[in-house]
């Protein structure tokens, strides 16, 4: 039977991980993610799993890679400062194709920033934080309910694609409490990593299956294999010839792109769909003039959705990615020409808007509603930009920097 729970976002993440089969956690607690570590320390040992508080986030990520290759569904939770420290071994996880999940409950930065306040400024760090060419998968919950469901999806994708998958939440989503309809045990679709069969002497740990993903054995079993951070061939043996390198880089990227349909799709709502079919919007059916395509994720999407509720007279479509990386470019691109302009709302100085501009490709003007002071962006701030009265990036000459020096001036 479906169970009703009243959880914090961070609790829902932990419950989602447990429901997905995660039994190994290594981490270093950090605000605003600490509830996940605290709950994992109680829940996992009780389920026969492992909780380790590591000396730092570098070691935490290394432990995840080891646990994953030994067969465990492994995860950690952190915030910006810890996510920075994890980047080196996230690269290792990508290279050895170790499935694992990293939860980043974003807070204001750079560095230790505002420890208890929200931000969405790790958009690009999630994509390019570790060096080298590599794929990235990042899911972005906008409710406590999605903290559960997208954490389950993150484990599923990590296993299926054999790679680290990120869940980017933030201080607001992580700490707010909402009702969650928890699916009955056993009703969730849970994916497992592809595993080898046949003669162990024939096992090639990096020979891809039909979907581009190689079967993964467990350390300690009959399938003996070698995992290295260096460029390697199908046997997992270091190889530094150009052909091997080109093939591996291409396959790591392609295994995500060819499995695009597995990624959680964006939510697309407009005023009519939000307020019910009875709502009479001018020009319903046809595309009314002056329409604005509003792009927002996570807690900013909650503010963006409120704009639609508060201003039913205006034709606004909310495009809310659930998968931030790879960015759902085809889905966004298809909507652009039904609208007169595009507005991106995010809690940083302008990261996702760069991706939106790439997709819009000059077909429509793109404006931004931005906030990076540790406070949630408000519906009013977004509305001002939707109406064209403001654009956070208009005339980027530095005057906003010199003009808002704070109360100490």
């Amino acid at each position: 039977m479906t169970r009703k729970a009243f959880w914090q976002g961070n609790e829902a993440v932990l419950e989602g991980a447990v429901a997905a089969g995660a039994r190994f956690y290594a981490g270093y607690p950090i605000t605003p993610s600490s509830e996940i570590a605290e709950l994992a320390s109680r829940r996992l040992p009780a389920l026969g799993g492992v909780f380790i508080q590591m000396e730092d986030e570098i070691a935490s990520m290394a432990a995840l890679v080891g646990a994953s290759l030994a067969g465990a569904k492994a995860f950690t939770a952190t915030s910006g400062p810890g996510f920075s420290l994890m980047q080196e071994n996230i690269g290792l996880a990508i290279m050895v194709e170790a499935p694992c999940v990293v939860i980043n409950v974003m807070r204001s930065g750079p560095s230790t920033g505002l420890a208890t306040k929200p931000a969405q400024a790790d958009v690009m760090q999630a994509r390019w934080g570790t060096h080298g060419d590599h794929p990235a998968v990042a899911l972005v919950p906008a409710s406590v309910s999605e903290c559960f469901s997208l954490t389950v999806a993150a484990f599923n994708l990590a296993e299926r694609l054999r790679m680290p998958v990120f869940v980017l939440s933030d201080e607001i989503i992580g700490h707010m409490r909402e009702r969650v309809e928890v699916p009955p045990e056993g009703s969730l679709e849970i994916w497992e990593r592809p595993r080898p069969s046949g003669d162990p002497s024939e096992y090639r740990p990096y020979r891809p299956g039909p979907d581009g993903v190689p079967p993964l054995a467990e350390f300690g079993g009959p399938y003996v294999f070698h995992a290295t951070s260096s460029m390697h061939d199908e046997r997992g043996v270091s190889a530094n010839d150009a052909g091997t390198a080109a093939a591996l880089i291409a396959r790591l990227g392609a295994k995500v792109l060819r499995n695009w349909e597995l990624l959680p799709p964006p939510e697309i709502v407009d005023t009519a769909s939000l307020l019910g079919s009875g709502h009479d919007r001018p020009g319903k059916g046809a595309k009314p003039a002056g329409g604005v395509l509003l792009v927002a994720f996570g807690s900013s999407a909650r503010s963006a959705r409120q704009v639609l509720v508060d201003h039913p007279e205006r034709f606004v479509t909310l495009f809310r990615p659930r998968t931030l990386w790879p960015f759902p470019e085809a889905e966004l691109s298809a909507l652009v020409e039904d609208h007169e302009s595009v507005v991106v709302a995010e809690m940083n100085t302008g990261q996702l808007v760069l991706e939106a501009e790439r997709v819009v490709a000059g077909r429509r003007p793109v404006r931004a509603a931005l906030r990076s002071d540790g406070e949630i962006i408000t519906p009013e701030e977004i509305w001002e930009v939707v109406c064209g009265r403001r654009d956070a990036r208009a005339g980027r000459t530095g005057e906003s920097w010199s003009g808002t020096g704070g109360s100490g001036r």
Partner: protein, 184 residues
């Protein structure tokens, strides 16, 4: 704005502000309403400013924060100085006179009660002041059912202090009935 009711509870860390928010939220869920509960706190857990917000609505809730509260509880002078101006017109300002000595003019109704003093002197433990406050708010507004709030306390509060918290709740309900200093 959200069509629901926005409640902001404010004071200092250690007063139980966030617990009171959770109790109201869980009571609302028991009444079958939609709820979002959020909080803001400083890096220090005790002594710093603390704020909890609850939005209760029949419909879905988008923006999770309260901009102009329908109901505002202030349990410190700093809290009333900071938030009194945000009260919605016709809103309700509930003041803990144990710690708040000066209330600025507001457009809504003001109810002043010695919430922390009642917890300390009548119940012997100031730590239950926020439970008294939750009872008082529900007694004044009926935003959630009295039984639902009792059930929420029973489900959330640790066993060793349950009786004390239930007494605190009753004290809060009684405070709502008394005619202390109240005006607009």
């Amino acid at each position: 704005m959200n069509e629901g009711i926005g409640i902001r509870l404010s004071g200092r860390g250690g007063q139980g502000i966030i617990l009171a928010g959770i109790l109201l939220a869980e009571a609302a869920l028991r009444d079958g309403l939609n709820v979002v509960q959020t909080q803001v706190y400083g890096p220090e857990s005790r002594g710093g400013a603390s704020k909890a917000e609850v939005i209760v609505s029949r419909g879905p809730i988008s923006y999770p924060k309260v901009v102009r509260p329908d109901v505002l509880l202030v349990m410190s002078q700093a809290a009333v100085d900071r938030y009194a101006g945000t009260l919605k017109e016709e809103g309700l300002l509930v003041v803990d006179t144990t710690y708040v000595h000066s209330v600025p003019a507001v457009k809504g109704r003001v109810v002043e009660r010695p919430i922390s003093g009642v917890a300390r002197d009548r119940l012997g433990r100031e730590i239950v002041a926020s439970t008294v406050a939750a009872g008082l708010l529900v007694g004044l507004t009926g935003v959630v059912g009295v039984e639902s709030l009792r059930d929420a306390v029973k489900a959330r509060v640790p066993g060793g202090t349950l009786d004390l918290n239930l007494k605190a709740l009753e004290a809060g309900f009684e405070l709502a009935e008394t005619s202390g200093r109240s005006g607009s």
